[in-house]
């Protein structure tokens, strides 16, 4: 048995951040390599409690695969009891403890403290590592976290009434091993020794308490600024731009989302700005540095050891080669490069990119924990620092890494949607400014393209192109985020010294050195990158490594099956551009021209064409208003004649312009016993011939007097949130669960309706809906008109021969004169 296992045997170890990358690896290694220790995992409880979180988010991870297999094979050899399963071993050795390092007092109660009191060692690995975390979030977790853990350990020691099983006496706090980062040394060149931050001559000593206060204040100020009328108006405009005429409630909800996002961005920016003003690459390093400072200052009698890894990457060997949790620092950049998105990345080829496999970090932490706190000759505890990094002993040069990545992706290209391999570009190692400018230009181009697309009335596949563009824009935005953030790291040319680490390493016996490898010199970079890191990374990033069927088609099949399941109760359809490539203007024009002679038809068409921009603008602004305004044109139209014309229009306009697949879908729903409902802003007289297709139709109705329409609506066309309300009323009247309903629509103005049902389907979506549907993984259908349909540029009714099948003369009677003269104007 090695020193480490022996020393940790019988100990209870508390761990924070166990759901993270490093934390999970720590738990796994302790369960596997030190069978005699017990663990207390401090986790933020989800809705279903801390234990559930531990079971689901930690123990289910693939890190435990080999240990689980070993237990299934032979529990005793795996370090367990006779006949024990992996789950039984876990419940014997692992205790879940709810707690939150971002809150004062960590949300601990007496009971929690009592549990913590049984621990001999605490490993604090919780951190906010996200590159865009807000300043105050980073402060709460990274700066105040270690301080709070230390305080909790002191409090726990106070409540301890009898020694821990390993013999730690009441009143003696547990040994705290705090995980920090090498980058607390700041952006600078030269050697960075293993010393406390304030011992460094380059450290600008600021009052950490003041930083905490100001970070919290910054949040208050950002919240206030976000509520300024101008800002809110701007945000509402942005929401409208994204959703279109989706109705008041949807816009409001979106506006609030955008406001919160804006506040978040302000806070991210504040963090980055404050960090760089003090010489740190980002808020993470900055808050970590002050966190160390706060810990050392306030630790009281808690013995503290600090372990500082550099950039932690996928495992070299344990728990499995290439094991990684989450999408980490370098991966997004490499993925963006492999996708051909990132053509350049800042940095100098000779620069050192300091990465360290996670199992080496785990070993270092455990070695420090096993060794215990450092004491001076008087037996006094002094906080000590151990760095674990590759830059000093086994540097990986930036140029070398790029070559390795490039050669690997040249051999294993990522495939694009058209199943073409993407060839990766050669990097020219430009400065950070140039890359940012390049990305900025690309982004501006996409912004412009997006604006143009937004302004065009696109649908279906073209609109999906818009959505793709948006996705690309998102990726690009992220890529420039990486450049901004990690670019700073590539400029950190500090060399992190490893004297303490090697002292520790050399103190280990052969057994420990074999089981707890931590020497960075053990890493052979080319094979690590080619054989371990990249193969695992492309899997994590779900990059498409072989040509083949698009995932989306199988996904669509799956979604389609759900939509056409027996359990569905209702299928609700929009009409225009969902089932039929037509609109109210076309049907009006068709009806109005049917009884005009040639010169009048020409005049009518010219006039209607002139009006189209106005009508479109009105339609975009508010669909209900548009319909109310537009339907006034039917004033004085004779009811009988329109009814007769409408049945002819079924053939000449509606069926001709229909999407056969859509019509088929309606009937499939009916066959499956689902109720089918058409909700449309079209006039009832237009939809009348479609009645056999649906169980119910809700359409706009006009009032009638003396056998003519008066152009006023008695039933307001249900659009936007009114359509949603109509649907809700309909569902409750027919005792239908909307979660079991399917809705088909083409435009973002139908968003409230689509969101209301369990199975929304975007049909030939226009740009905005296309991007929303893509993001939310809704089923998208592309329904086309039948190839072979007679094509006509203008929706003009074929001239009636003046006599209908009942022998009535249908040319302008005195009643219909106004309807006709209106058309003639």
């Amino acid at each position: 048995m090695g020193v480490i296992r022996e020393s940790l045997s019988g100990k209870r170890i508390a761990i924070t951040g166990a759901t993270g990358f490093l934390g999970t690896a720590l738990v796994e290694r302790l369960l596997r390599a030190v069978p005699e220790c017990e663990l207390v995992l401090v986790v933020r409880p989800g809705r279903r409690g801390a234990q559930h979180r531990v079971d689901r988010d930690i123990l289910k991870n693939d890190a435990f695969d080999s240990l689980r297999a070993a237990f299934a094979d032979d529990p005793v050899a795996a370090g367990g009891l006779e006949g024990e399963t992996f789950a039984e071993m876990c419940s014997r050795r692992v205790t879940a403890l709810k707690g939150d390092v971002a809150t004062d007092g960590m949300n601990f109660d007496d009971e929690s403290l009592a549990v913590l009191a049984t621990c001999d060692i605490a490993i604090h690995s919780a951190a906010a590592v996200s590159f865009d975390s807000a300043l105050d979030d980073a402060v709460e977790v990274n700066l105040l976290g270690p301080y709070r853990v230390a305080k909790a350990l002191r409090d726990a020691a106070e409540v301890r009434t009898e020694p821990t099983p390993a013999g730690r006496a009441p009143g003696t706090p547990a040994h705290l091993v705090a995980v920090s980062t090498c980058y607390v040394a700041g952006s600078r060149r030269g050697k960075a020794p293993e010393q406390l931050v304030n011992e460094s001559p380059f450290f600008v000593d600021v009052d950490w308490q003041a930083e905490v206060d100001n970070a919290r204040l910054a949040r208050v100020e950002a919240e206030r600024a976000s509520r300024q009328p101008d800002r809110l108006e701007h945000l509402r405009g942005e929401a409208y731009g994204g959703l279109g005429p989706a109705g008041g409630p949807a816009i409001s909800e979106r506006t609030e989302q955008l406001r919160q996002r804006w506040v978040g961005k302000q806070m991210t920016h504040a963090g980055r700005a404050r960090a760089s003003s003090l010489g740190f690459p980002d808020a993470y390093a900055f808050t970590k540095a002050l966190g160390e400072r706060a810990l050392v200052e306030t630790r009281g009698d808690v013995p503290v050891s600090i372990v500082r890894p550099s950039i932690i990457e996928s495992a070299l060997a344990e728990p499995a080669p290439g094991w990684i949790r989450g999408f980490r620092m370098a991966e997004p950049v490499i993925a963006a490069y492999a996708r051909g998105l990132l053509k350049e990345f800042p940095g100098v080829p000779e620069g050192v990119i300091d990465v360290i496999p996670c199992d080496l970090v785990v070993a270092t932490i455990l070695a420090v924990a096993a060794r215990g706190p450092k004491t001076d000759d008087n037996g006094e505890h002094h906080p000590d620092v151990t760095q674990i990094a590759s830059g000093s002993g086994n540097p990986l040069e930036y140029g070398q890494l790029v070559d390795l990545v490039r050669s690997w992706f040249t051999e294993h290209p990522v495939y694009d949607e058209k199943n073409q391999p993407i060839s990766v570009p050669e990097w020219s190692f430009p400065g950070r400014g140039r890359v940012s400018r390049q990305l900025g230009r690309a982004q501006k181009g996409l912004d412009l393209a997006e604006k143009v697309l937004d302004a065009l009335p696109l649908r279906g596949r073209q609109a999906e192109f818009g959505a793709e563009l948006e996705e690309r824009k998102d990726q690009l935005e992220r890529a420039s985020g990486y450049v901004e953030l990690y670019g700073a790291y590539t400029e950190c040319e500090a060399i992190y010294e490893l004297d303490n680490m090697y002292e520790l390493w050399n103190s280990l016996d052969d057994n420990d050195q074999a089981n707890f490898a931590m020497d960075p010199k053990l890493v052979h970079w080319p094979s690590y990158v080619h054989e371990i890191h990249l193969p695992s990374m492309v899997q994590q990033a779900r990059l498409k490594m072989s040509p083949g069927n698009r995932q989306t088609s199988s996904r669509n099949d799956r979604l389609r099956k759900q939509v056409l399941s027996d359990n569905r109760q209702l299928a609700v359809f929009d009409l225009e551009n969902t089932l039929i490539a037509s609109n109210v203007v076309a049907s009006y024009t068709w009806l109005a021209t049917r009884h005009l002679d040639a010169p009048d038809r020409a005049r009518f068409v010219a006039k209607t064409l002139r009006e189209i921009p106005t009508l479109l603008a009105l339609d975009r602004a508010d669909r209900s208003d548009f319909l109310r305004y537009f339907y006034r044109r039917f004033e004085d139209a004779p009811v009988d004649r329109l009814a007769e014309d409408a049945s002819e229009m079924l053939s000449d306009l509606l069926v001709t312009k229909s999407f056969p697949a859509g019509i088929r879908r309606v009937r499939e729903h009916r066959r499956l016993g689902h109720r089918t409902l058409l909700i449309t802003g079209a006039l009832e007289l237009v939809t009348e011939p479609l009645r056999p297709l649906f169980d119910d139709i809700i359409a706009a109705e006009m009032s009638v007097s003396n056998g003519t329409y008066d152009g006023r609506l008695t039933v307001v066309p249900p659009t936007g949130e009114a359509r949603y309300q109509t649907l809700v009323d309909y569902a409750s009247a027919h005792d239908i669960d909307l979660q079991e309903a399917v809705a088909y629509a083409d435009s973002s103005s139908d968003l409230p309706m689509l969101e209301a049902v369990g199975f929304p389907v975007a049909v030939n979506p226009e740009t905005k809906l296309a991007s929303i549907a893509r993001k939310r993984a809704w089923l998208i259908e592309h329904w086309d008109k039948s190839k072979g349909a007679p094509s006509r540029t203008l929706p003009i009714g074929p001239l009636s021969h003046g006599i209908n099948s009942h022998g009535n003369n249908t040319r302008g009677t005195s009643k219909s004169r106004k309807f006709l003269t209106r058309s003639k104007q």
């Binding site: 056969p660 697949a661 088929r664 056999p692 297709l693 008109k785 039948s786 190839k787 021969h801 099948s805």
Partner: protein
């Protein structure tokens, strides 16, 4: 060109043996053409007969037929004041293409109406006997009957399309001795006299099929429009060897006993599909007789067509009206009349052919009975090739059992949404599942036939009945059973595969593919149709 000797002494159809000197042969290819060199030594081409001379005075011939009917009394004597008279007439599916005005139906009906007026008959209805076909539009009715008839009857609601799905418009006349249901349009069934005006373009048309099918509905038609009957009809173009016709004749017996008195008027036309002169006349000439001018016309036409979008080509061809001439008219008792009609029909169409062939090649034209003013969709391509053309035989099929059928047609994945809505779904849903006629019949027919939406479109729009695509498929059932392989040259590969056939880009490729089935030295026969020919295979 009235002195053209061919008009007076038309040459009969004949079989050409292809040798090295034979020029490339014309293949119809939808709304375009191909010139194909057939392998010498083992290929032959069957040419249709040249158009028979038309009757010199059609009006007088019609009058004589009505006044001197076969096995029946003169039409005027059957008409009495106060009687209920219904005139039913063949619909848009005949003739192909539509003929130049005046249509024969107009000529016949005008005389019938004159006689009815003279007899003081007021209660006259005219019904387009379209069975489960699509309704005819106003323009189409005007073309077939003339403006005078249309304007006199349509406004009163006395000229209309048969509606087999009108719940109040159909009656059941009884059952045949084989328990086949007979249904009929109620107005026709309850008339004192039903005059049927028929236009025979091929030997399948006419006889009891006119009334038993044309004025019937799904429950009556399904008695013979099914896979079993079609597979036993060898062929359905040969009335006396056709199970389809036997069933119709049994239904005719029921009509005779329980239905209205039927006065049948049948007419035949000649093969003058493309005219003696004019742009398309080259299509009814034999290739080695093409003059320099014919060649230039053909080349010009082909270049023009190639440059045009498909929709324009379709428009041009659909607007072609054939200068058909009336070759015979006979009236009176249904069965006796029909025997005379068949004789007249065969006079024009029959070409004696010695022995079968391994490979039958066909050039499919742009039109079939169900896409007048419409789109020739893939299902219709199958029906025209494996249904109509394959069955243009008497005796035994032109191609031997297990042989290969090679057809040339672009077969685009295109459907007319108004005319053929159920075809679209048949193609997308049914054929993607199976192409076996019996399985299709069992699994899907009922669902399509009783579909409420198709019924609605059939009745109020211009759609073929929901079940109609099934009949198209059944029409080819005999051929599907008989053939070893079907290859379509120059078709959209996706639609060809959906049909269950094999696509080939050239005739050479197709012949190569065929050799897998029938060997490398297989005999080839090309049926040079249209103009129409029927092979009498010995």
């Amino acid at each position: 060109m009235a002195s053209d000797p061919r008009r007076k002494a038309p040459r009969p159809g004949f079989v050409l043996d292809v040798d090295r000197s034979t020029p490339p042969i014309l293949f119809h290819h939808g709304d375009n053409f191909r010139l194909e060199k057939l392998p010498p030594g083992r290929s032959r081409v069957i040419y249709p007969a040249e158009p028979l001379p038309g009757l010199p005075d059609p009006e007088e011939s019609i009058r004589q037929a009505l006044l001197n009917p076969i096995d029946d009394d003169p039409l005027p004597t059957l008409m009495t004041p106060g009687m209920k008279l219904t005139i039913a007439f063949d619909d848009l599916s005949l003739p192909l293409p539509q003929m130049r005005k005046p249509d024969i139906r107009q000529r016949v009906i005008e005389q019938v109406l004159d006689m009815a007026a003279a007899a003081g008959v007021d209660d006259v209805h005219l019904i387009a006997a379209l069975a489960l076909h699509r309704r005819m539009t106003e323009a189409e009715l005007r073309h077939a009957l003339g403006d005078r008839v249309y304007d006199a009857f349509a406004p009163q609601g006395a000229l209309y399309n048969h509606d087999a799905e009108d719940p109040d418009g159909m009656v059941e006349l009884g059952q045949t001795r084989h328990d086949e249901i007979v249904t009929m349009n109620k107005r026709a069934a309850e008339s004192d006299l039903l005059v049927y005006v028929n236009l025979n373009i091929v030997s399948m048309d006419g006889g009891w099929k006119s009334t038993a099918t044309g004025l019937s509905g799904y429950s009556g038609i399904r008695q013979h429009h099914n896979v079993d009957t079609m597979q036993k009809s060898r062929s359905f173009m040969d009335r006396h060897n056709s199970e389809l016709h036997k069933s119709n004749w049994r239904q005719g017996e029921v009509i005779k006993n329980h239905g209205p008195r039927v006065f049948q008027i049948e007419t035949t036309i000649n093969n003058n599909t493309f005219g003696y002169d004019g742009p398309l006349s080259v299509l009814q000439k034999r290739e080695w007789e093409w003059t320099a001018r014919d060649r230039a016309t053909f080349l010009g036409m082909k270049t023009g067509l190639n440059a045009m979008p498909a929709s324009s080509r379709r428009k041009i061809f659909q607007s072609w009206k054939a200068p058909y001439e009336l070759t015979s008219v006979q009236a009176g008792e249904v069965e006796a009349v029909h025997e005379v009609t068949l004789e007249n029909c065969f006079k024009q169409h029959i070409v004696p052919v010695e022995g079968q062939t391994d490979i039958l090649t066909l050039g499919l034209p742009y039109i079939c009975p169900y896409n007048v003013n419409s789109v020739m969709n893939p299902i219709l391509v199958m029906c025209l090739g494996l249904g109509y053309f394959f069955n243009m035989y008497r005796g035994q099929p032109l191609v031997r059992e297990g042989g290969v059928l090679i057809m040339s047609h672009p077969t685009p994945w295109e459907f007319h949404p108004v005319h053929h809505p159920s075809y679209i779904d048949f193609f997308e849903q049914v054929l993607s599942d199976t192409t076996d006629p019996a399985e299709i019949e069992k699994k899907y027919e009922k669902q399509f036939a009783e579909d409420e939406w198709y019924r609605h479109l059939y009745r109020t729009s211009y759609a073929y009945h929901g079940v109609h695509p099934f009949y198209m498929w059944y029409w080819g059932a005999h051929a599907l059973q008989w053939l070893g392989r079907v290859i379509i040259v120059g078709g959209d590969p996706r639609s060809v595969r959906r049909l269950g056939f094999q696509p080939a880009s050239t005739l050479q490729d197709a012949l190569e593919m065929a050799s897998d089935v029938v060997g490398p030295h297989a005999t080839i026969t090309h049926m040079h149709n249209p103009p129409i020919l029927m092979a009498d295979v010995s």
